[in-house]
Symmetry: C2
Subunit: 405 residues, 2 copies
Amino acid sequence: MIKIYDDGVTFPKGFTASGVHAGIRKNKLKRDLALIAAEKSVPAAAVYTLNTVKGAPLIVTKRHLENGYARAIICNSGNANTCNADGEEIAEKTSELLGRCLGADAGDVIVASTGVIGQRLSMEPFERGIPELVNTLSAEGGKDAAEAIMTTDTRLKQAAAECLIGGRPVRVGGIAKGSGMINPNMATMLVFVTTDAAISPETLQKAVSLDVRDSFNMITVDGDTSTNDMFAVMASGQAGNDEIKAMTPEFEKFSKLLSTVTRTLCKKIAADGEGATKLLECRISGAATKELARKAAKAVVGSALVKAAMFGSDANWGRVLCALGYSDTALDAGKADVAFVSAAGKIDVCASGSGIDFSEETAKSVLSENEIVIDVDLHCGIFGAVAWGCDLTYDYVKINGDYRT
Amino acid sequence: MIKIYDDGVTFPKGFTASGVHAGIRKNKLKRDLALIAAEKSVPAAAVYTLNTVKGAPLIVTKRHLENGYARAIICNSGNANTCNADGEEIAEKTSELLGRCLGADAGDVIVASTGVIGQRLSMEPFERGIPELVNTLSAEGGKDAAEAIMTTDTRLKQAAAECLIGGRPVRVGGIAKGSGMINPNMATMLVFVTTDAAISPETLQKAVSLDVRDSFNMITVDGDTSTNDMFAVMASGQAGNDEIKAMTPEFEKFSKLLSTVTRTLCKKIAADGEGATKLLECRISGAATKELARKAAKAVVGSALVKAAMFGSDANWGRVLCALGYSDTALDAGKADVAFVSAAGKIDVCASGSGIDFSEETAKSVLSENEIVIDVDLHCGIFGAVAWGCDLTYDYVKINGDYRT
């Protein structure tokens, strides 16, 4: 049984964290540099954006993770360190500085950045911030780290869970930033997860790569796949379980534990999409293949027209059918049933691909809630998928009409 | 030399048109039923949406165009006649009724609908409207027809052009509706084009299929590929030119004439995207292949973040790089130069994939115009493409948050 906790990356044994204001952002009240540290070099795994324009920190991190081990994750907000001529140099210098302060190898540092693309990043704030970051590392520092990676996020995002594996309690905890430029492809904007499970780098990588297909790859805020997406995990091994081997019952248990944390973070990212007032969840069932189910779910929550209709609490299910229809040329939406579900109830709006009579009043009340499920049964097979998104609002336009200046 | 005219589907010889209020829409001042008629059955060609959910009128039109000939195009706005159990029956009955009134074969009718998906459409307005439509057909009726197909369009869209082919003046004219659910794939929302060129159905189809790749398939308003996209052309043959054969110099001339009209309609559709205040044009050059150029151009004008930045006159070129980077996994944006161009001037913002210093003040003035060109040279090859879109504004959200009710 998996128990869920309101905690983050310092929940698993063997990790400390901190977050400080280093001066990358102008607002002095906002922490802008985060650190998550293990006690020694531990197994680590990551997945990265498939955007061919890659942030310099991702290129450096990929190099550092080639051996499958890491000691710490450092992440700044306020500047993406992307499309800068000296970006890699800055990311390497940051790793070296952190390595010196921690007494670790620079090659064991996972480095990440988020913020505006194409603005030069100076070493100054790192020189000021890193010693303070290291000095304030603590087992209660998870929240400070979660706060320091926020950009236009309005809410701090963390999740934690625990279950028994091989008779030992194993924990997973994570933090995330989301908000805009969210349409991850292999990873999300930034997600850092820790676990105290004993697991090899290869098995951890397998678990992570499997997980993203149904977690972060299934959320979208605006269809823009970021240059800086990264989902990184470190495993301290301090839970005391026997090492988890791939494709065993223990691996299944660990994967479920991991996905409990990642799916919770997914919902938090989608619900806090830029300008969002509502979390949208599209549940597809009855698809002919898993891939068609995933594409269909993501097309529905990604449709600007569906998103705007949900903002207006308008049961415009024709837009759901339209999105299903363009999700893939092999998808048959002709037999689709569609219902809207929320805390206020359920309303069926479409059966076998055609509209059915329904009460506009009831629909309005169902759609006025802040968590809406769009339930679709394609009646074409046995596969399903879930995707998360948010409504499209005036505030999305406001936030993004003048983000940089 | 191609001459451009402010005219539409009745500009070429051999066509009449009309538009009336038939009662499909509640607003009695808004025409909602359009007719374009040839004097007899003439060569016709069309391309349709690739959305697998297809409007009933498209299915019926496809059937009617199997023989390559048509006599008339009828189109209603206010109801898409899509996802209705009796949709095909309604579209066939409409064709029969029009056929009777025109003295034509029902199988020679191109039928189209645009509006809300999934609302039953009754025959009543057609029974009332079709006789009036036929009685008011005139060589000056192009504008009435253009008005009758508008939905959330704020401006009537028509274009016309003429050039000599084989020593004879050949004309092409067209009307379009656009606005929302615009991300055509093989055709746009609705575009009807006429020509008086002498051309066979097969050659006409070839010209149309080639044309859409660089015209309507290169516009996007919101990324939502409609269920009812259709681009249909009729050729009266009354220009008196020798029949145009495929892949001859005359075919090239005709294709250029056609594209003069279709590209003008593209810009009009994009500029009048729902809520739009600005027309965006992305010009890609230096791509390694034509396909990469097309994908890159369309990704840039389709990015919600680029669109919102343009609304705010914010020179956030990092979002342009980001969109290039996710447009295709084979695209290299590392050497890209980016500039913004408008009537107020040109400003270079990125060279070889990295930011360069520029005046924010000048950028603001360039981006404050209502037609913005985003000029990208990838420095990877010789191929180019152009795509059109519009900014993302509060009004897009407003229009689509409560479209149906």
